[in-house]
Symmetry: C2
Subunit: 212 residues, 2 copies
DNA sequence: AATTACATACCAACTAGTCGGTATATTTGA
DNA sequence: TCAAATATACCGACTAGTTGGTATGTAATT
């Protein structure tokens, strides 16, 4: 809360944008909403951002950075087998479905749904952020595929995007029902699918848990 | 375009709402937008709807009715085997990913994403419409499950919702990329999953295509 | 004649963005 | 070292335009 700290004020504005937009959507959130959430006046807002659209772009990039940090630090990332890391990602996301809806839903999907046609610059920022996330995920997917399903026809990227699709759709279900139960069941289906894509050889399971 | 036809005017307003909201989102579409799309003035709009929120609710119900008619008339509905009908549904939806984005995306998912917290009545209408759709779908799923995977742990409803989740997520991917390619690949993953859920006995396939 | 189905004109509230001003840092100059 | 000068960070009132909604009028239908 220290005043006259530009980086911190900007961070508060971005955090407020992240929370308010996830709760009300991009179009319905006013810059006054964000100012109130950040404890800044309009003058301060427009000192840091050229306009509402610029804030949307910056919020998408900020969200990507935050997400990257969270997933990089998650425990499942330390698992030796890439198959376990991919499944661990799904479990990690499933465990997030708790508390208030705006806290676990995705700013990128919420924004791009509304503005894909009216604000192409925001849509492009959301695409970049989502693709960054998929790229990280696809590294583990590619490693697991090489180990357990080298000849399969699908690409690691397509599975990474499919996982994002299930997540985004699960968020919509949770919003429609004001309840994450059905959304979590959808993630359970996704997990079962991924398990089936990477069949574990019954006898050599112990050996396969070794890295490499 | 015949004037003084109340039902047709209301239908034009609902059609305009369906198209404009899918293109711009609920919050960003003004009632003037809808009036312009329907060729009606504001007085006419407020004669038919008590307010913008009432229109949103009616649009959700209208969308459900329209979708029900489309899927009831689709060719795959005539297939004798329920497994083929479930897979036929996925193929039917995949084939829809063509043309302009607002023409194949889902009004319900678009709206509920924005208004789940600010307009609970609209969110409830979207939930009802989506659940109606899933209920129809789950009838075929239940029949296929009884025939091919009677002992499986998942419920027909949960798979129906999972299929909707993949579709809703695929729409978001298509919007982010302004391209349906990745979205269609996600549906291909969904199809592969459903195939694996209903394993066809290798020798008795001919017999199994008989109804009953 | 009465009701329905619209059109037109209008309003109060709200919205993104502007603008002049002020308080705090930071740099400069002696 | 310490002002003076300048740049940065932020405030809050204001504006031009937009928005959902209303009040009133009028032509067609019953």
């Amino acid at each position: 809360m220290s005043p006259r700290n530009a980086v911190e004020t900007k961070a508060r504005l971005l955090a407020a944008a992240r929370d308010v937009i996830r709760a009300k959507g991009y179009s319905a959130t006013t810059v006054d909403d964000i100012c109130a959430g950040a404890g800044v006046t309009k003058g301060g807002f427009f000192h840091h951002f050229a306009g509402k659209e610029q804030l949307g772009i910056a919020a998408a990039e900020h969200f990507d950075d935050m997400a990257a940090a969270i997933f990089a630090a998650a425990a499942y990332r330390g698992l030796p087998d890439p198959r376990d890391r991919v499944l661990g990602y799904v479990d990690f996301r499933a465990a997030m479905f708790a508390g208030e809806i705006p806290q676990y839903t995705c700013l990128l999907g919420t924004m791009v749904q509304e503005v894909y046609d009216t604000h192409p610059a925001i849509a492009a920022a959301c695409d970049r952020a989502m693709s960054n996330h998929v790229r990280e995920l696809a590294r583990d997917i590619a490693a697991a595929k090489e180990k357990y399903a080298a000849d399969a026809a699908w690409s690691p990227d397509s599975l990474g995007y499919h996982m994002q699709a299930v997540l985004q759709g699960a968020f919509i279900l949770a919003k429609a029902k004001h309840d994450p139960t059905v959304a979590k069941e959808s993630l359970a289906h996704l997990r079962r699918y991924i398990e089936s894509l990477f069949p574990v050889p019954p006898l050599s399971r112990e050996q396969n848990t070794h890295p490499g």
